[in-house]
Point group: C2
Chain length 324, copies 2
């Protein structure tokens, strides 16, 4: 395994993707007020962030629009209300889950949309459906990524087959996703190596989306980066489901490309993230998320533990172990 670039240099292939609204939306059911989203948009553009993800393109047949904020659905007009024609160097992305998006209805041709990139989220067992969506979106004119979730529970042989199928798709980027925050840096390096070999041979890039259950989201992101992964997901102060994500402020402080600036991000944290936290929106590292991460489990039990304001970590751990 070869390291790409040194700490002191920078690689022009690196792209920073802000997922605050999309992954953070999982914490507050996508109820962000427009001022927050507008300020985030300006902040990201000023900070040199390459892509800002607005949310999901969820099916309105499957999800009740009265139960979620608008960024669960990302109507074209709602995005335009924030970004106009997006007269910045930053690109706009949305996420579409396999099986939860009416993509033939809701994905309009790129020439009519302010969206630049569609990220398709899938599990290993729904890769064929994902490939269909990828190719549809690519044919509509979008950049596309494929985000294979929960790889830490997938069989390696199945993952190899999935990567082979994806290498033949029209996806521009293949994402390594540590859904449970269970992977250690040495595992991330092995996965990154596997993904990069497949992607490079097919003329594609690799991305990483890490979770912070074991305080490793930032470490895993920069380790993947050092070994050739180029699309790096982060969120403001790590806002995201459960233990949250890689912190944008840590990532921008690490990257050496002079296009990136920490200053606007610090102002956003002061002005928007602190009030959000004080209003009672909760995310971030805590013992319960560490325990599900260590045991390679979905964080749903830890999220419930948090919602119940429980602090009996020992008892919770016994139940986590029982689920094995």
């Amino acid at each position: 395994m070869q390291q790409k670039g040194e700490l002191i240099s920078f690689r022009p292939d690196i792209k920073v993707v802000d997922c605050t609204i999309r992954d953070g939306g999982l914490v507050n059911n996508f109820y962000f007020d427009d001022e927050f989203v507008k300020d985030l948009y300006k902040t990201n553009a000023a900070a040199g962030v390459d892509y800002m993800e607005f949310g999901y393109k969820a099916s309105k047949d499957l999800f009740d629009v009265n139960e979620f904020g608008k960024w669960k659905f990302c109507d074209e007009q709602d995005i335009r209300d924030i970004v106009g024609d997006n007269d910045t160097d930053m690109k706009i992305s949305v996420m579409a889950d396999v099986g939860r998006t009416d993509y033939k209805k809701d994905i309009i041709p790129k020439k009519d949309s302010v969206i630049d990139m569609i990220r398709i989220a899938t599990y290993v067992n729904t890769i064929p459906a994902a490939v269909e969506m990828i190719n549809y979106c690519a044919d509509m004119g979008y950049e596309t990524t494929i985000n294979i979730m929960a790889v830490s529970t997938a069989q390696e042989s199945e993952l190899d087959l999935a990567l082979d199928l994806l290498s033949k798709s029209k996806a521009d980027v293949i994402y390594l996703v540590d859904s449970y925050g269970s992977l250690y840096p040495e595992q991330i390096r092995r996965y990154a190596d596997k993904y990069i070999k497949v992607a490079e041979a097919a003329g594609k890039k690799v991305g990483i989306h890490a979770h912070n259950n074991q305080q490793l989201a930032f470490a895993n992101t920069i380790e993947a980066c050092a070994f050739g992964v180029s699309y790096l997901d982060a969120t403001m102060s790590g806002m995201g489901r459960g233990a949250g994500n890689c912190y944008m402020e840590l990532l921008l402080g690490f990257l050496r490309n002079p296009k990136y600036s920490l200053n606007p991000v610090l102002k956003f944290i002061e002005n928007r993230i602190l009030p959000l936290k004080k209003s009672g929106v909760v995310w971030g590292c805590d013992v319960q998320y560490m325990l599900t991460g260590q045991q390679n489990q979905h964080p749903r039990t830890a999220i419930a533990f948090t919602a119940d304001k429980r602090e009996d970590y020992f008892t919770f751990y016994q139940s986590v172990l029982d689920r094995e």
Copy 2:
């Protein structure tokens, strides 16, 4: 650089060192009540921790005993009041700062002490004095370590000379210390490689003491471990100066040696750490510590920022940059 051991195996050379009282004492001026310390001692022993560090052997001529809790001084009797004759498999350590310990007065012969190991903390420029202390303590019968602080600001050529001097000392372990929490995993691997080459040739071991300014204390600890570092410092819930340390619960959840158990640690967090935090004792990752870490600065300005309950990160950052 060669990785030592795989994730799934375990290395019998690994030693876990709990520094909760010593590094955590920097947060509360060493005012822990005896019940806390007794419970920590029992917890560490039950969790399989190899060494428990009680605090400093500070000079009572230099420091006023009325301004600090007793673990700043670690009188023999105070330790014995907690551990008796220490009838456990766990060893006891204390730290002695070069220039701040009356070691010829306060370090008694090992045969009369319940202390097993003395860790000598030094900067690169006080290595000769450190070597004198190391050899004195070794001759008194103790295991010794040398902890070279703030290596991220030392010149590499001076560090090489320091390591050469230390290789000829009687120290059993040479510690890599990331005092400012500024080092990234790839740097830790380079330092670890350097330390290990010197130490192995001299029949010594290497340890790591990491700080969590950039959420990298755990990542850096396990990366160093993967590349051959064997003495691993951690504290309960990361309690320690400023951003704190590597979390014991993360480390024990990672290590595969069946002697280690997470269960007693989870109970300790519930019963002792949560109440301590609720009482207003503050440590852990926050933006201000990230900023001093990113800029490779001592956290003292960030500690003052925290004490003042400030949240103007942007303004603080400008002052951090000004100090360059």
